[in-house]
């Protein structure tokens, strides 16, 4: 490790090579070492039970960390959890963590939160690592140049017992995003546009590497949003080469290396770039300057369009399966072909999740809603991804901006992204959501989801219909530079009107 690789390789291949415990023989997969295993309450109980039945221990509790996130309520966190099955599942995690000696951040702890927010904020997610979790959005950690992917419960048990995973080889896909993002667009719009372009199966079998000028300019948090949704493009993992932005983010975090270790780490991290002469199995190119705020109209994340568009006419879709899927989605979503997306009225706006529940997302929303009132009849839920994010937001006064706006300010967790806790849509309710999946019933049985960026969510909460920030009245020139953490031109409402 740390030495220059003789063979040309992509970022993903380099991280893979540095983790091979044993090469597979005769068609068997390579056995890879896992540097960090993140655990939560939903996909772990059966894995711990498996260990117990086989009389096995956790091999490396010191490479394992657990938090409570999927089931946790976002209200009354100081009271016993009302739902008995949620309570049991969380209690089961607490018992397992105790029995197997695993660090757990429970509800009420300052480091509790969505597992994909907790790893990075503690500095546990670092470049060149292998990171796994029984959660498909583990791809988030790829933003640091880690090879990070979701696993099933059998694999959770496997990692607990052996700290390794047998993994079939993958192909590599370069996704290059050139140019600069236009004002009012964010990294969420980049990833929604990518998914619409390559489809929900386009990344299957690949590790994606996001690169290009637009990606390099993004903050770490914005990069996490992109890598987070690699799975919605069908890819188990998405990665971005570590650079100065990555190092600056990590420096000084509790688990980041210090002193001479820091220097050794940075020296190694700097080698984690795709070599000039390395080749990808597939390449996709996007121009950031072509992007607009993007929204989904259907029931899979690939069914998305620029906000200026209209609900498609299924009869114009040539491919039979896609046409049938569009027909079904339009019926489920209760939309009309040809209907402008901007005319769609929502009942709920959800701001949060491992996709867009970090501090920069909340700052961006606050900037839009400050001094405004939410639309009547729209319920606005703001759920920070972690307790730390919540504390930070409160220290900056963002919570007051949200509550003055008419939004509900909640405690940290996955919340309405998947509706395992009481935060759910009612049947027939429609949401603009900064989360990652618009599947039928994802946010509550019969609920309808439009995936949007935090900026679109905020503007939608103001107007009550799917909207961009450019659709709002702005009294003064507002500086949009820190929206999404990426450098954007100052907002000129006139210039934005065409967006």
């Amino acid at each position: 490790m740390g030495k220059v690789m003789a063979m040309a390789g992509t970022l993903a291949e380099k991280v893979w090579r540095d983790h091979v415990v044993r090469r597979g023989e005769g068609g068997a997969p390579d056995l890879l070492y896992i540097d960090l295993h993140l655990v939560h309450e939903v996909t772990s109980p059966q894995a711990f039970e498996g260990l117990r039945l086989a009389g096995r221990q956790v091999r490396r509790p010191d490479l394992t960390i657990a938090t409570e996130d999927h089931n946790t309520p976002t209200l009354d966190i100081d009271l016993p959890i009302a739902d008995p099955t949620s309570r049991t599942q969380i209690q089961t995690l607490r018992n397992n963590a105790e029995e197997f000696g695993i660090r757990l951040h429970s509800l009420g702890d300052a480091d509790q939160g969505i597992v994909h927010a907790v790893g990075p904020q503690l500095g546990l997610t670092q470049p060149g690592m292998t990171v796994v979790c029984g959660d498909s959005h583990t791809s988030t950690h790829g933003a640091f140049g880690a090879l990070a992917f979701g696993i099933g419960t059998s694999e959770v048990e496997h990692v607990l017992a052996t700290q390794t995973l047998p993994l079939a080889p993958f192909k590599t896909m370069a996704i290059t995003v050139n140019g600069e993002l236009p004002p009012g667009t964010t990294s969420k719009d980049i990833i929604l546009a990518i998914i619409a372009k390559i489809g929900t199966g386009g990344g299957q079998g690949y590790v994606l590497e996001y690169r290009g000028e637009a990606i390099e300019k993004l903050s770490m948090e914005a990069r996490m949003t992109i890598c987070n949704m690699s799975i919605e493009a069908g890819a188990r993992a998405g990665m971005i080469a570590p650079d100065q932005t990555t190092f600056d983010y990590l420096k000084g975090r509790p688990h980041a290396p210090e002193g001479a270790d820091w220097d050794a780490a940075v020296e190694y991290w700097k080698t984690l770039r795709t070599d000039e002469d390395a080749t990808f199995d597939a390449e996709v190119v996007l121009e950031a300057s072509d992007l607009e705020p993007f929204v989904t109209w259907g029931t899979n994340p690939g069914q998305g369009l620029p906000l200026s568009g209209a609900v498609p006419h299924p009869e114009q879709i040539a491919e039979e399966n896609e046409r049938a899927a569009a027909e079904r989605a339009i019926e489920y979503m209760d939309l009309t072909p040809g209907q402008p997306l901007r005319d769609i009225k929502v009942d709920t706006v959800f701001i949060g999740s491992c996709t867009n529940g970090r501090i920069e997302d909340l700052r961006a929303v606050a900037k839009v809603v400050k001094g405004r009132k939410k639309a009547d009849d729209v319920r606005v839920l703001v759920v920070p991804a972690s307790a730390r994010v919540r504390l930070q937001a409160e220290a900056e006064g963002l919570d007051r901006i949200f509550t003055d706006f008419g939004a509900e300010w909640r405690n940290a967790g996955c919340s309405m992204c998947l509706g395992m806790n009481p935060d759910q849509l009612q049947p027939g309710e429609r949401a603009a959501s900064t989360s990652n999946r618009n599947f039928e019933g994802r946010q509550g049985k019969g609920g309808r989801t439009h995936l949007v960026s935090p900026l679109v969510a905020a503007a939608t909460a103001v107007r009550g219909t799917l909207s961009a920030v450019a659709d709002l009245e702005w009294d003064t020139e507002v500086d949009l530079t820190s929206f999404d953490g990426s450098p954007l031109a100052p907002l000129d409402p006139n210039a934005l009107m065409h967006v």
Binding site: A28, P61, T64, R103, G108, L122, I151, G152, R236, A325
Partner: protein, 212 residues
């Protein structure tokens, strides 16, 4: 894990693409801490529709699911595989599977057989023309037989071998414990550990409450 060589059972035509794991098993059913007993949760939202295929008597006892492309997308929940198995499915046929779902299937002895979409269409037609028709999934020869239709399918060699032998992955890996130990000895010392725990500054947490 039970050994799988060949299975014959009622085929169920599920003419939908992009069947995500939230449809296979909605999140509300994931709160259980057991590994079995998920049969009621399979396609829970769709089963309330009387026209759903599994509500048709002829298909009710199906054990071979024939689905559209991109089956098992979305969440990594292995509960999706458990629910299919608990219901009685032994194999799923599709033109394309999501990577994590395919991996989970292999660990649990559910055969995820990748067929050409044209063959899926032919099998759909046969199953709809004659509801209750049996489908044979032959893992040894990698073929699917349904009436007069004989199609080949793809599954990776290693998964096929493990399914046919009924092997437990953890046991296989632990045979190489010496390799794991020597790898661990070579890891850079600055790699992070979760223990001893280091924290950001400690702050007391009070529950956020709705503003009245």
């Amino acid at each position: 894990m039970e050994k799988f060589t060949t299975h014959t059972g009622t085929g169920v035509p599920l003419r939908r693409s992009n069947i995500d794991t939230d449809q296979i098993i909605p999140a509300v059913y994931l709160k259980r801490v057991t590994r079995t007993g998920f049969e009621d949760a399979l396609f829970a939202a769709w089963r309330s529709d009387p026209n759903f295929v599994l509500n048709n008597e002829a298909y009710k006892s199906g054990s071979v699911l024939v689905a559209g492309p991109d089956f098992g997308t979305g969440s990594s929940r292995e509960h999706a595989v458990w629910a299919l198995k608990d219901y009685g499915f032994k194999a799923v046929l599709s033109a394309r599977f999501a990577d994590i779902f395919r991996g989970n299937s292999g660990k649990q002895g559910l055969v995820a057989a990748e067929l050409a979409q044209e063959d899926i269409e032919l099998i759909w037609k046969a199953l709809e023309a004659e509801p209750g028709l049996a489908v044979t999934v032959d893992l040894v020869n990698r073929t699917v037989t349904c009436g007069d239709i004989v199609a080949t399918f793809q599954i990776d060699d290693y998964t096929r071998w493990r399914l046919m032998e009924g092997l437990d992955d953890i046991g296989l890996t632990l045979e190489h414990e010496a390799d794991i130990e020597s790898f661990e000895a070579s890891r850079a010392s600055w790699r992070p550990t979760t223990l001893p725990a280091k924290h950001l500054p400690t702050v007391p947490i009070e529950a956020a409450r709705p503003v009245t």
